[in-house]
């Protein structure tokens, strides 16, 4: 197995040995989506769906669809933050042993991807109790993409600032981005919205949730944004491991 492969395997084993975390990984997205669904009134609301324009949907469905990628973002963001923070010192020793920083980042990113996919699947399953997206596969992809982006944000934040500051960023960032800036209730897109991580994945998510048509451009742009975040993470990690 390659060095990155072995590092990935061991990273996954470490995560699998945190039973409370595993429980939270299942429970928190479920709690998030279900509570929001439970408290929303039984009425319809006009929302902006990118590929369709204005359309009327059930409030519970809209909320559940919005909260699903948000749950994935929160889980992956915090995982990314602590993944890098807790392993920083030992990863330095691992690079001296011969595992390159890029191999470490690939391995850690892969663990994060597993976390993001798991959180996405759990969130989608819970969402499906209330509302089944029109294109569930693409909706899952958009949810996972949102999670991966915030995982990358968590990684960068974890490398640059301390944990307390990192938690501030992750407490505030996804909520502002997803719940506020990307809200489909808005009559006009806030100026900052396209520059925030979840913009393109959420455009894809809403299309996939409420229509049979999707605009793949959003997917590509979201993937491009993700690539940019990971390049920043790579550069930051190299700087950290060569102080």
């Amino acid at each position: 197995m390659t060095k990155a492969g072995t590092t990935f395997e061991m990273g996954l084993r470490e995560y699998a040995r945190m039973p409370v975390l595993l429980v939270l990984l299942l429970f928190l997205p479920a709690y998030f989506v279900l509570v929001f669904t439970a408290v929303m009134p039984d009425q319809s609301v006009l929302i902006e769906v990118p590929v369709q324009g204005r359309m009327r949907v059930a409030m519970t469905s809209m909320t559940a669809v919005l909260m699903t990628p948000m749950a994935s973002a929160l889980i992956s963001g915090v995982a990314g933050l602590f993944l890098m923070q807790s392993a920083k010192a030992v990863d330095g020793r691992l690079t001296i042993a011969g595992v390159s920083p890029s191999a470490i980042l690939v391995a850690r990113s892969s663990v994060l991807a597993v976390v993001a996919v798991t959180a996405g699947i759990v969130s989608l399953v819970v969402l499906s109790l209330t509302y089944v997206p029109e294109r569930a596969g693409w909706f899952l992809a958009a949810t996972v993409l949102t999670g991966l982006q915030y995982g990358a944000v968590g990684v960068v934040v974890g490398l640059v600032v301390n944990r307390l500051a990192g938690v501030y960023v992750l407490m505030f960032g996804p909520l502002l981005d997803i719940f506020i800036a990307q809200s489909p209730l808005a009559t006009e897109t806030p100026a900052i919205a396209p520059y925030l991580p979840s913009h393109y994945p959420l455009q894809l998510a809403f299309d996939a949730a409420f229509t049979v048509r999707i605009d793949l451009t959003n997917g590509w742009l979201g993937a491009g944004y993700l690539l940019g975040l990971w390049l920043i993470a790579t550069y930051t990690l190299y700087r950290q491991l060569h102080i």
């Binding site: 072995t6 061991m10 084993r13 470490e14 042993a97």
Partner: protein
Amino acid sequence: MSESRDQSDRQSSDREVVLHGSDLHKAYDSLLPFSRSVSVLNGADIEIQAGEILGIVGANGSGKSTLMKLLVGAIEPDEGAVSKAGRVGWCPQEDLLYDRLTVRETFRLFGAGYGMDQDAIAAACDRLASRLDFEEFLDYRVDQLSGGNRQKVNLSIALMHEPDVLFLDEPYTGFDWETYLAFWDLTEDLKARGTAVMIISHLINERERFDRILEIADGTLTDVTDTGSTQAGGAGIR
């Protein structure tokens, strides 16, 4: 003793230099105003020869660990250069290990980093576990080990790939007497094999085990093998 040291000196001058650090400078600066900037190394020079056991002494905060980290490559010097010939093994002062991996898994991970195949990793694991007496803990998680056993694993990770230069920072912290003796047996075997061993220790009270002792003071290194450390009495104990 004097004759053997003269002989040792003649032999040491014939040995290959496996690591050379020249004009090493390192300061820890803060980005913030009014914060302390700490200059640790000011033009330190060091040469390590194959098969020698080199001791590094110095007061607390004198830069011993910083020097070691520079030589190993964990941090970059502000000025100066380090050149190495061969493989390096590093046992840091704090046990830098992944807490939730088992001892065996830790060997697998670091062994993969060193480029060892599975058989070589397994052999090294068994050999070192037997030598340092932690065989019964191979399937324990690192965070389940006592301090002494963690240190044994910490040391073993540095040794497993049979390095040419071995850097040990306070290696016998937490060792019981038997393990301490086993450690020195191991070091003698490494020396005989031609491995250079650099040890930072506060306990250089068995001076005859060391070929040379260098002291860090004011950011530079001085050979105190014959004169004794300024930090210690004649016995070298602080």
